[in-house]
Symmetry: C2
DNA sequence: ACCACAGTATGGTCAGACCATACCGAACCA
DNA sequence: TGGTTCGGTATGGTCTGACCATACTGTGGT
């Protein structure tokens, strides 16, 4: 029994080491969006591991939306640092919804929360509303429920953007992506979208005037109109 | 020019096909948490791809918190479907904070929003508060700022759990994880935690009585006490 | 000055090998 | 009968080396 100590419960896998090393380099070298990571083969040699392990680490980083890989040559090729938290969140929600470890109800309630917060903050910040107006006119031109939802999504994401919080905006985008099919059905069931239009105008107006309370209220009533079945309680 | 059509702008990589196939099987076979995926070698053969591609797909699924891989043999080995959205979110936040594509301020504002929502809903649902009480006494026994924050995190995550929304709870967990260091500093700067304790008691009490408005208010004031520097505006 | 083409660095994929782990089961004892 | 030991085996983890597809780079010819 020369084994006096315990080994760690979970041994760290090689690609996890690589991940930690890359993360460290990002922090130490102050790398930011747009900068390039070394080529896979170089990283493998520098860290003394196989290219496979480096690739698995890259896959993780890509999944989390911090790098984007591009084959070929030149300044745009290779692994470039990016910032796509929304695509990562979208994948996460889609898979967990598919696994039934999350329910649509939870997604919609979360959206409700964010929507109110974002509208209030956009109003308080007197944010620019031109993107909102553009989405509004897009909805007017829409010829199908799908197209309408497309611009409706743009409208609500623009509110989140206007709140000035990029995390909130990313979450909003992924929530809307996950709900797309559901939203289309809701619009089809509703038929007439004139009530929704009036709500949108009211929201835009409140943000324009900087009236946070009115914006919150308008958003809340808008959601009740759009998804009446969820407000039984 | 015999090239009459356009090729897709983005060719799908093999591991992405594998990912889609696995996702399809999860949906069609109705797989849920606890079920096992085929072994990497079998999947590779079934799908006609190399094991490397299957592994990269696995790495993505693992990163998103839907599978957990285990070597060895037996029922617990292999790739098992799990549900860990919070670890995925934690990684995502940590990396984006490191990239400076998110700022701590945005994380804290998001936490503020969630915290109020969760407290109100926990109160409205008359949720069980025994976990809250346990965390509270844990804070009383704490002998260091780190230990205090540990139980404080448990307290606030328990509120999120009590709201009944697993997505909210997952986001809350990952937000708190990301802020850990920051919270410890805030507690150290504060020195005396008796104000925080009174706030916690007040929150617990409001939830216990089912007073949603009071719970919201109590949480809001609590955060102002804990992070006074963020409420200058 | 322009253009065509070979060179080259990059990621993407594959095949095959070997290791570490952990269960399974048969053979072997008590 | 009951337990123990030990080899077999299925699993993920890692490595090597090769080849392909892509897209820029530089060179040489016109």
């Amino acid at each position: 029994m020369d084994d006096s100590g315990w080994r760690p419960v979970k041994r760290t896998r090689t690609f996890e080491d690589v991940l930690a090393q890359i993360e460290r380099r990002i922090a130490e070298d102050g790398l930011t969006v747009g900068d390039r990571l070394p080529a896979e083969r170089h990283l493998a040699e520098q860290l003394g591991v196989s290219r496979s392990s480096v690739r698995e680490a890259m896959r993780v980083l890509e999944t989390l939306g911090v790098v984007s890989s591009q084959a070929g040559r030149g300044p745009d090729a290779g692994a470039v640092l990016t910032s796509r938290p929304d695509t990562a969140l979208t994948d996460l929600l889609r898979l967990h919804l598919g696994l039934a470890s999350l329910e649509m109800r939870e997604v919609i309630d979360t959206r409700h929360m964010i929507e109110q917060w974002a509208a209030a903050h956009a109003a308080a910040a007197r944010a620019d509303t031109s993107a909102l107006a553009a989405a509004l006119s897009g909805m007017d031109r829409a010829k199908s429920a799908e197209e309408f939802v497309e611009h409706d999504t743009a409208f609500h994401c623009a509110i989140a953007d206007a709140s000035g919080n990029r995390l909130i905006a990313a979450i909003m985008r992924s929530l809307r992506d996950s709900m797309r099919r559901y939203s289309v059905e809701a619009v089809q069931r509703l038929g007439d979208t004139s009530i929704l239009r009036a709500d949108h105008v009211r929201i835009l107006d409140a943000i324009d005037r900087g009236d946070a309370d009115e914006a919150t209220l308008a958003v809340s009533e808008h959601l009740a109109h759009a998804y009446p079945s969820l407000f039984d309680h």
